[in-house]
């Protein structure tokens, strides 16, 4: 303290000791922060699952486990179809492509030759129970047409079959009923071919495409996996560049997450770069000092880094959405610096840290308190992603605040060397005169009525949309590839499914069997193109007995099997053994326990699981065109549940939109009460008025622009409250007298618009609506901020020269 101020009143002395305390606490804080940042930064990992924004729902029993199982099976798979004008060149190039992918630790497996061993294993287990296994179609045919035609066809097949393994076929599956049963599980793909090296290929549009199957070693939402996979994919693609007329069709959740991350990255750089550049320009123009520019960014850097650390320690990884919103933290954190610098410049040679901080410290502290309160209210909304945003922002803001109140008064004890630009000062003063002049007109009835009418009409037009699919539009090119892949390789499995449950295996199987004819009926009616159920793989014991009976009556008692064996010239001992084996009533049954190990290896096995003493089975639906019909089916069966994750999420978003709206009202009331303690209830109302009116105007504007609103707009309005109340507080604390307060608020509005407003450029609807709402809300807040000074006496407000610092 070299230049001690000439006059020190009591308040200034108290402030000096308070500043000293803040300085030392800042030193301790800075030391801890450097250690923490140094330790944490190299360990940071990012995550970008947009679904993490949405809460893990409080689901009905079994549903979350079923979703998890389906997710595991689906999300880690990656498929490629590689085609070119020359099949031989394609075939030669594909193994190198697959090898490059396989060399990456991000892929658990990469294959061009799908392993059929699980299916052979299934066949081997089935072979002991051949007569007990029949499809519904087989049963009907055997009952109505008998087995003579079947035996005739089988005789010809055996006699004309040039390949080996006949003895096994005749003894194990004499009439090929088991073969038919198994084939029904694996629908033949008409355009699929298998070459002698085991490559699977599909033909379409004069090209032959080789299928490459890969499985990621971790979730495609992991950013580490994405980076590795991205690098491996570009290396692998390099292997294919020489192919003439190359066409690669790729599908899998990985490509959507890659596209999502790339988009988030470019948006972060747009938002981050845009706001940084804008803010640098502003600061240079206003304060004309490179040192201040550097100093202005210290609280931001410290805030962002500590915010990242806090997210890492609390959540294990940082969500990319937290980072996107975090980039906007720049806009809020810089407000503290702006208020400080403006005040110092405006006071010019009269500046002293102790007196200067007298009205800055309460306003800064109350501003921080209200911003933190607004951010913390995000956590009440229950979205994990927003909880991270809240933690990130709160920690970031508190850190930035600490830097401004601890470091700035220490480093900036001398008055500013250069005054504020004269043109700017004059401009602000003129604007303030004009603004104050306008205030009386606002009190006139016709203007109030017209404004109110426009407001109500805008609000009246407001519509809410909660459909999650409209908030995150997937990449169109990827969707086209998806549908081409589906057209070539197979049918699309619907996101919706049926979940059937029962206390035991046999009961579950019986319920699934009862469902089969109804599903087939709907299939014939065109409501869906196919379905996959455990009942296709495993008949109930009851059904196994019935099947065996049909088999015996139609194929042994009626004679076809003994006749076939005679025609083939089977030796008597073997003939007797076969007939005896297939006519005996079943003494043991095919069970779920026998099939479970195979199901674990089979790519399309039915999903079955235990949870809390109940057994659950998922019935997957393909080519679903009439979800309502299946929903009705589930409604009619007590043990069947219709699960529609998309509808559930949309429903949740609606709940959260309503919840957030309630939160917003509550926050205004709470702040009003809180501020009444310092400013009386009328003054508090005046402070709350600018953000409140800005919120209503913003909603009305959205209504007039026919933009639908969702939970994300309301989240943004919570932020408008947090930032807007800052401006109002400063206005109130300065009693509307200092032109520098208006300048600081204007600068902070500009920086906020530069940062948050740029979010409105986002291609993700959710982030876009967030940005637009902030943009409008903060702008209206700035316009209305003088309202906060209302009630302090119009004389004070209108006299432009009183209590203003000397120029």
């Amino acid at each position: 303290m070299t230049d001690t101020p000439p006059v020190m009143d009591n308040a200034a002395t108290r402030m000096t000791s308070r500043l000293r305390w803040l300085r030392w606490s800042f030193c301790a804080f800075a030391f801890a922060a450097v250690l923490l940042i140094g330790y944490t930064l190299p360990r940071l990992t990012f995550e970008n699952d947009i679904l993490a924004l949405f809460p893990q729902e409080h689901q009905r029993a079994g549903v979350s486990r079923a979703n998890e199982l389906i997710g595991e099976r689906v999300t880690r798979k990656v498929f490629f179809l590689i085609g070119s004008d020359d099949w031989h060149v394609t075939r030669a190039a594909v193994p190198a492509f697959a090898q490059v992918l396989a060399d990456c630790a991000c892929f658990a497996s990469v294959t061009t030759t799908p392993d059929a061993s699980a299916f052979s294993e299934l066949y081997r287990i089935y072979s002991t129970y051949a007569p007990q296994l029949l499809t519904a179609t087989q049963r009907t045919q055997l009952r109505s047409a008998g087995g003579a035609a079947l035996a005739q066809k089988r005789l010809r097949d055996i006699l004309a079959n040039p390949s080996a393994g006949l003895a096994q076929q005749i003894q194990g599956d004499p009439l090929a009923t088991l073969n038919t049963y198994v084939q029904a599980l694996r629908p033949a793909q008409t355009n699929m071919r298998l070459d002698d090296s085991g490559l699977v290929s599909f033909t379409a549009e004069d090209k032959r495409y080789v299928l490459v199957l890969a499985e990621l070693s971790d979730s495609p939402y992991s950013v580490a996996i994405q980076q590795q996979a991205q690098a491996a994919l570009s290396r692998a693609n390099g292997q294919l560049q020489s192919l003439p007329g190359l066409d690669v069709i790729k599908t899998g959740a990985l490509f959507y997450t890659l596209a999502g991350t790339a988009q988030a990255r470019s948006e972060i750089s747009t938002v981050g770069l845009g706001s940084a550049l804008g803010i640098i320009l502003l600061l240079l123009l206003v304060f004309r000092s490179a040192a201040l520019l550097v100093l202005a960014f210290v609280p931001i850097v410290v805030g962002v880094l500590l915010g990242l650390c806090a997210c890492f320690w609390l959540f294990g990884s940082v969500h990319i959405i937290a980072l996107v919103f975090g980039a906007s933290l720049v806009g809020v954190a810089i407000d503290y610096a702006l208020h400080f610098f403006t005040r110092r410049h405006a006071l010019a040679s009269a500046w002293q840290p102790a007196t200067g901080m007298q009205h800055l410290l309460p306003a800064l502290s109350l501003g921080l308190l209200s911003s933190v309160a607004a951010y913390l209210s995000f956590t009440l909304a229950g979205f994990p992603g927003f909880t991270q945003v809240a933690v990130f922002s709160c920690v970031g803001l508190i850190s930035a605040y600490w830097v401004v109140v601890g470091l700035y008064p220490w480093l900036l004890q001398r008055p500013a060397e250069r005054p504020l630009p004269a043109l700017l000062v004059r401009g602000v003063k003129v604007y303030r005169q004009w603004l104050w002049g306008c205030l009386p007109y606002l009190r006139r009835l016709p203007i109030l009525l017209l404004g109110g009418l426009l407001l109500v009409a805008g609000l009246w037009q407001l519509r809410a949309v909660d459909d999650v699919r409209r908030m995150q539009l997937p990449d169109a090119q990827l969707q086209r590839m998806d549908s081409r892949f589906q057209a070539l390789v197979g049918r699309r499995t619907a996101l919706q499914y049926l979940l059937v449950s029962a206390p035991g295996t046999q009961l579950l199987l019986q319920q699934l069997e009862a469902l089969q004819p109804e599903l087939r009926h709907l299939q014939e009616a065109g409501a869906l193109s196919g379905f996959q159920s455990l009942a296709d793989y495993l008949p109930s014991q009851q059904q196994q007995i019935a099947n065996q009976q049909v088999w015996r009556e139609a194929l042994i008692d009626a004679g076809p099997l003994p006749q076939l064996l005679d025609q083939l010239g089977v030796v008597p001992a073997v003939r007797e053994a076969v007939v005896t084996r297939f006519s005996a009533a079943p003494d043991k049954f095919l069970s779920l326990d026998q099939l479970s190990p195979v199901f674990a290896r089979l790519p399309d096995a039915p999903l079955v699981f235990h949870e809390q003493d109940r057994l659950y089975a998922v019935v997957l639906l393909q080519g679903l065109s009439d979800p309502a019909a299946l929903q009705q089916l589930a409604r009619d069966n007590a043990s069947v549940e219709w699960v529609d994750a998309v509808a559930q999420t949309s429903h949740l978003l609606r709940e959260y939109r309503l919840g957030t709206a309630g939160l917003l009202v509550l926050a205004y009331i709470a702040l009003w009460l809180l501020l009444s303690w310092r400013y009386s209830w009328r003054g508090s109302l005046a402070i709350v008025a600018p953000p409140l009116l800005a919120t209503l105007l913003c909603l009305a504007a959205l209504g007039w622009a026919s933009q639908s609103i969702s939970v994300f707009n309301l989240m943004a309005l919570l932020l408008v409250l947090g930032i807007g109340i800052d401006a109002a507080l400063f206005m109130r604390e300065s009693q509307g007298r200092h032109y520098d307060t208006l300048l600081a608020i204007g600068l902070s509005t500009l920086t906020t618009i530069l940062s948050f407003g740029l979010l409105s450029l986002s291609a993700t609807a959710a982030i876009h609506s967030f940005g637009v709402t902030i943009l409008l809300g903060i702008f209206f807040c700035f316009l209305l901020s003088p309202l906060a000074a209302i009630g302090l006496g119009d004389v004070a407000v209108l006299s432009s020269s009183r209590d203003e610092p000397e120029e």
């Binding site: 059929a116 061993s117 052979s120 010809r156 055996i158 006699l159 004309a160 079959n161 040039p162 390949s163 080996a164 393994g165 006949l166 003895a167 096994q168 005749i170 003894q171 084939q183 694996r186 033949a188 793909q189 008409t190 699929m192 071919r193 298998l194 070459d195 002698d196 090296s197 290929s201 083939l568 010239g569 089977v570 030796v571 073997v574």
Partner: protein, 216 residues
């Protein structure tokens, strides 16, 4: 015992000559890889066969199953060229299989049907195998089998094949291919359960299958 029975059966067909009979067991004594000179000889043979271009001939197939008191016999004509392999069964009834571009098509009772590898793997594998065999494509044979080769007297030779993969080895024990110069005379297929399939080929002039042109 079974081996002797097989040799007796082979002798009965009259195709395999006495010299070959003695050496039939010898062929499996050492794999091709350990005999560079035999490997060279086989490559030369393959080149010779390739030069021939199209091969047409007649076949007789007999399956001897332990559980049957009579063999299953079928006969017909076949044609092989670089583009396709046609297998036209005439007895006991007419069925034509055409294998081209790794796709197998069955013509039966005037109906054409694509046989999928996924639905009838054994049948598909049979044609895939014979296509590689007739072109003596060493690399494609090596993929599934350990290859043995034994030159016998004059231009006679024997190729032995033992499955490498467990899946194939579960049912198939070994294959013996007998040939003379650039011609394959017979193929004997021995299953693990002792059942045998034996194919004999003859090459009379104008033996091309009637369906050859239709299959284009």
């Amino acid at each position: 015992m079974k081996k002797i029975l097989l040799l007796v059966l082979l002798a009965c067909t009259g195709v395999v000559n006495a010299a070959a009979e003695k050496t039939a067991a010898e062929v499996f004594s050492a794999p091709l890889k350990s005999h560079p000179e035999r490997q060279a000889a086989l490559q030369q043979l393959a080149a010779q066969i390739k030069q021939q271009g199209a091969i047409t001939g007649e076949f007789v197939q007999q399956k001897h199953l332990a559980m049957l008191n009579k063999p299953i016999t079928s006969s017909g004509r076949f044609a092989l060229n670089p583009a396709q392999f046609v297998w036209q069964i005439e007895q006991p009834f007419a069925i034509t299989y055409t294998f081209a571009n790794e796709q197998l098509v069955r013509d039966m009772d005037g109906e054409t049907q694509v046989v999928e590898a996924s639905t009838e793997p054994m049948l598909y594998g049979f044609f895939s195998f014979f296509t590689s065999l007739f072109s003596l494509s060493e690399t494609s044979l090596e993929q599934y089998f350990t290859v043995y080769y034994l030159p016998v007297s004059g231009a006679n030779w024997i190729i032995g094949l033992v499955p490498k993969q467990a899946m194939l080895a579960r049912s198939l024990k070994q294959l013996e291919v007998h040939g003379h110069a650039a011609r394959i005379d017979s193929v004997n297929l021995l299953e693990q359960n002792g059942d045998t399939t034996e194919l004999t080929f003859s090459y009379p002039a104008a033996a091309a299958p009637a369906a050859d042109t239709a299959a284009q």
